[in-house]
Amino acid sequence: MSHIHETRPHLHFRPWNVGRWVIWGLFALALLVAPMLWKSSFAQTMLCQIGIAIIACLAYNMLLGQGGMLSFGHAVYSGLGSFLAIHTLNLVGRGELALPVSLVPLVGGLAGLFFAALLGYVTTKKAGTTFGMITLGIGELVWSMSLMLPEFFGGEGGISANRVVGEKVWGISFGPQLQVYYLIAVYCFICTAAMYALTRTPLGRILNAVRDNPERVEFIGYSTQHVRYLAFMLSGFFAGIAGGLGAINFEIVTAEVVGAARSGAYLLFVFLGGATFFFGPIIGAVLMVVALVLLSEFTKAWLLYLGGVFLLMVMYAPGGFAALIMMNLRVAAFGKLRKLWTAYLALGGTGLTLLLGGAAMVEMVYHLQLNAALGPMTPFLGAQINALGVDAWVGAGFACLTGAFLFELARRHFLAQWGEVQEEIEREIKRREGL
């Protein structure tokens, strides 16, 4: 009997291994060429932040997605990592410590690890809501302390440092943003790989088991608290690295890095990216930086859009973008994506109309609220529209309404098609199983 199964894992995994190399190769390539495609300094700052956010979100998802621990205070660990790193950087700058700047993020990581070890011991005793509330409490505590202890946290001005210190190593001074980017990219790649590897280890697997059913885990020889605690520390370590990189990138660390808003952002965007898949948080991280940094440049209504997108995503795609992608990949794997093409086009087209109409109205309302006195002209996607003009409103309203109507039609059509395709796939699977 065991003979038959001997060969099975190999048959099963071989094709995946190839795919894995390709995927990791592509990931490395993407990190490598990104700054060549987006050259402006603003784009490069964003890329840097994305790299940092990827590490932080993946670290966060180690708790949320892998371990089922809903934390409301993970910024504490990335943030304290930032502070320790910036203090270290200052020590290096004053010549009191000889440490290459490229290793400073590790100091952040160790700080994250240390604080996770310290605070995690009490937090991981419980799971579920209790865990969430303790993290919320600890988060608020650390945040309040940060304003009370300006000696360490630098008050509201924060702590600043200069990353261009010490000898140049191989001509790298970390002055230019690009050099910092590549430092971040290297860390990002290594950390991502390490965290992925972690999901393939005994601890990683048991962590999943703890997420699903902590009670049972106790009866197969594992201490749930121990598992959570270890995961919490590892997560704190990676979060700390992200924090350390942040310190180098901004050269200033302020109390907001430990704040509730940051913790909340981790939660929101990891969920939006998709907590159930390993790569979900990566998408989430990109979205996070794009939303918080870029969107607010484009429009004053960015918070409204952000909130709206959240509502819609949670309602209609609770698995996040990663789940959407995986669902479509599955359809593609069965060669049925072609069937959905037209439905997607219709969906996209009508959706866009709806969005344009809606957004135009939102922009006009904002304009009337905030800038009315600057005249009625509102910039919208490069054009100028008259926020007081009847035709603008009628036009936008018309686009919005017809868009909504057609979108609903398209949506129904799409759902029907989608259902059909899924059914076909089910049948296909059954057939294959039967073979």
Binding site: G419, Q422, E423, E426
Partner: protein, 235 residues
């Protein structure tokens, strides 16, 4: 009283019932037999409006149940005892029973069952009445679910595997109560695994396989039909 006509049921996309037709007459015990996974529980849930279904379920020749909400169906006089002991774990035994009661309606006849009846039926429940139901023993939970549904005073009660996890003595007791229900004019649709009981108490037996009814007849006929028993009840 209850008539199913070509009932299909689905869990999401998977099609589980493939056209089930059956009747339950007033004051009758009908048992629904079949292997694991043959679709018995699904049938009962579909009648109760707990899974998506198409086809027709007529109640007292008037009401069509398919498409209605579970709570409306319950108010029409159907009762459902689930198989997996869906007691409300955080509530006490007594509160669980209270929840079995429905909001009183105008012009409704006097109720057939009261708390005392339940406690008389299963004294064990009376002993534990202020305990959280979640900590009850498996068998006690089974008793509780049965009583809870009875508190809703149904005219037809659908019971999914009522004897699972009950001590032999209590199984015997339950069989007795099923007959008692029948005597009080309540119809019973019994989903069972233990043939002994089912054959003993019911007037008619239905056997399901792969989401269809594959046999219908009296217990005696079923006992006699070796083929059906071999093909659809044993492996």
């Amino acid at each position: 009283m209850l008539a199913l006509e070509n009932l299909h049921a689905y869990y999401g996309k998977s099609h589980v019932l493939h056209g089930v037709s059956l009747q339950v007459r007033p004051g009758e015990i009908v048992s629904l037999l079949g292997r694991n996974g043959s679709g018995r529980s699904t049938t009962v849930k579909a009648i109760m409006g707990l899974v998506d279904a198409t086809g027709s379920v007529r109640w007292r020749d008037r009401e069509e149940l398919v498409g209605r909400k579970a709570y409306e169906i319950a108010h029409l006089g159907l009762g459902y005892v689930p198989e997996n002991r869906d007691i409300f774990p955080k509530l006490t035994v007594h509160q669980n029973l209270m929840l079995g009661e429905k909001a009183p309606r105008r012009g409704a006849p006097a109720r057939r069952w009261h708390f005392e009846d339940m406690y008389a039926m299963f004294p064990r429940l009376k002993e534990r009445q202020h305990t959280e139901a979640g900590v009850l023993s498996g068998g006690e939970q089974q008793m509780l679910t049965l009583c809870r549904t009875l508190m809703g005073d149904p005219d037809l009660i659908m019971i999914d595997e009522p004897t699972e996890g009950l001590a032999p003595k209590i199984v015997e007791l339950v069989a007795g109560y099923l007959r008692e229900l029948k005597n009080r004019g309540i119809s019973v649709l019994l989903v069972e695994q233990k043939l002994t009981i089912a054959l003993e108490v019911s007037e008619r037996c239905l056997v399901m396989g792969h989401g269809r009814i594959v046999f219908e007849g009296t217990p005696a006929e079923l006992k006699a039909d070796a083929y059906v028993r071999k093909e659809w009840l044993e492996v």
